[in-house]
Amino acid sequence: MNEFLAKYAFLIVPIIKVAILVFAVLTIDAYLTWLERKVIAHIQARWGPHRVGPHGLLQPLADGIKFILKEDPMPSGVDKIGYFLAPFLTLTLAITSLSVIPFGPDIKPFGYVTNFGIADVNISLLVLFAITALGVYGVALAGWASNNKYSLLGGLRSSAQMISYELALTLSVVGVLLIAGDFSLKHIVEHQDNGSLGLLGWNLFGFSKDGAGCTQIIGFVCFFIAAIAETNRVPFDLPEAESELVAGFHTEYASMKFAMFFIGEYTSMIAVSCLATILFFGGWLSPFPASWTLTHFIPSIILIPFGLWVIFDGIRYETIFGRILLPGVGAVMTAMGVAFFLFPGVTEVIQGPFWFFAKVFAFLFFYIWMRGTLPRFRYDQLMDFGWKILLPVSIANVVLTSAFLLWRMH
């Protein structure tokens, strides 16, 4: 049995990892919609979902059931291949893009060393861009195949927008590539590890381990703006502008097919946040210098009080179900916090993933925050901004970074 496991570990481990990742991503997507509705509601002084389960926590589940049970009508005159292919393409590509992301340093479950992520490819960044490049077809095809003028306009807008912003997206990353000298996301993170300076080593500030590097703040700003445009989110959500195009490219989609576009969009938001974290914010590295070992207890310091507060809040909740569920969730959180505190081995392992997911969460929150705050661009403003500001600035960033690196070499 053990020999069999050792022989086929290269096959079994990735399959387990894929299963875990897909399950985790779909759950996170579901609760991201909950978070988005809650946060936007509070920005607009409303309550948000509050009926299904305590604090609306079961709302994603209800939404899921609704999506599955709803009728799925197909409009007449659609192009069948394109109409069915589009949602599958969007969702598959979005989830595939997460496969090359390293979520933490290498781990050793049961003595088998493996990377914390699905695949450790030496061109992972290029693979990500290749997947993003193909992602346009989902939206464009959906718009064209639906046999609807609003859908077609949405599809056209999105193709034009994605072509325009993909250039800036790719060029804004070149600075990071020049500094790291590698396409591997894992090596890019490791290159930002400056033990004694903590967060100053990140590409955003640029004091990486081989002496003073070059700050990539310009690159980051360009990257994040272009990435928001690539994921079709506010303020760049012209492909699905409700007030002009009904719902844009997915007007004619209902039920699970609509849900696939929806999940695809949220998954690409997660992928982009992961990429921003890795390229500019040091991935799984802690923002504190390595010698500050007390900071290893930060996960516990956050989890224990939050868990206690959830218990305290849950006991006084209006419904009986809430009075059972919320203290239960709070107890699990507190127990996890205590476990992170008591077992040194667990504390070590949890550091990388904790910082990685904390940064990704911050980006996701920023996405939602912007949706609650900013109005949509006009189409000509979008094109002007992409071609006349974002693209020249990212090219300037490439030139400046290479000039700096050349000057430092001599």
Binding site: V121, I123, A140, W144
Partner: protein, 166 residues
């Protein structure tokens, strides 16, 4: 049959089938989609030969950028079904013999080769990306720069042609 050989035949069959479908499809968008499948399976073949960088760039540039423009233009023109015409005389008497001759030459070339696939380039100390850029910027720098110049001229030409109508 080892795994790489099986993958090679799957990808090659996919590429050929998609290429045939590209010609036979009635609608331009379906043809464009078939062409995307050809490009992506070619990228898979490059990957099989150990050229990861070329494979990724094949998908980014051809599968992504170029084909998106194709699809975009077809959608913008709202092109309908293709009209079939009969074979022209030139195709019957010139095209078919030439196609057969080309097929014969390729078949002969394959038959003459040793029958063994060359081993993929070992990705050892230097990654293939670095090797490629070294070659591109030292040995082949003039052809490389000339090609870029040619592309620039083509872009300018397109702009001039588009501007002339106003």
């Amino acid at each position: 049959m080892t795994a790489p050989v099986i993958i090679f035949f799957v990808l090659a069959a996919l590429a050929v089938l998609a290429a045939v479908s590209l010609i036979l499809q009635q609608h331009p968008i379906h043809s464009a989609l078939s062409l995307i499948v050809v490009m992506v399976s070619l990228a898979g073949l490059y990957l099989l030969m150990g050229a990861e960088f070329v494979a990724a760039v094949q998908i980014i540039v051809y599968g992504g950028a170029v084909m998106v423009l194709f699809v975009f233009v077809i959608m913008l023109l709202n092109a309908g079904l293709e009209e079939r015409t009969n074979f022209s005389k030139l195709a019957t008497f010139g095209g078919i013999p030439l196609a057969l001759a080309l097929g014969g030459i390729i078949a002969a070339a394959i038959a003459k080769s040793s029958g063994h696939l060359p081993p993929p380039a070992a990705s050892g100390a230097m990654s293939s990306t670095k090797q490629l850029s070294m070659l591109l910027f030292s040995e082949f720098v003039y052809p490389f720069e000339l090609t870029s110049f040619l592309i620039l001229v083509a872009i300018l030409g397109a702009i001039v042609l588009a501007q002339r109508e106003n």
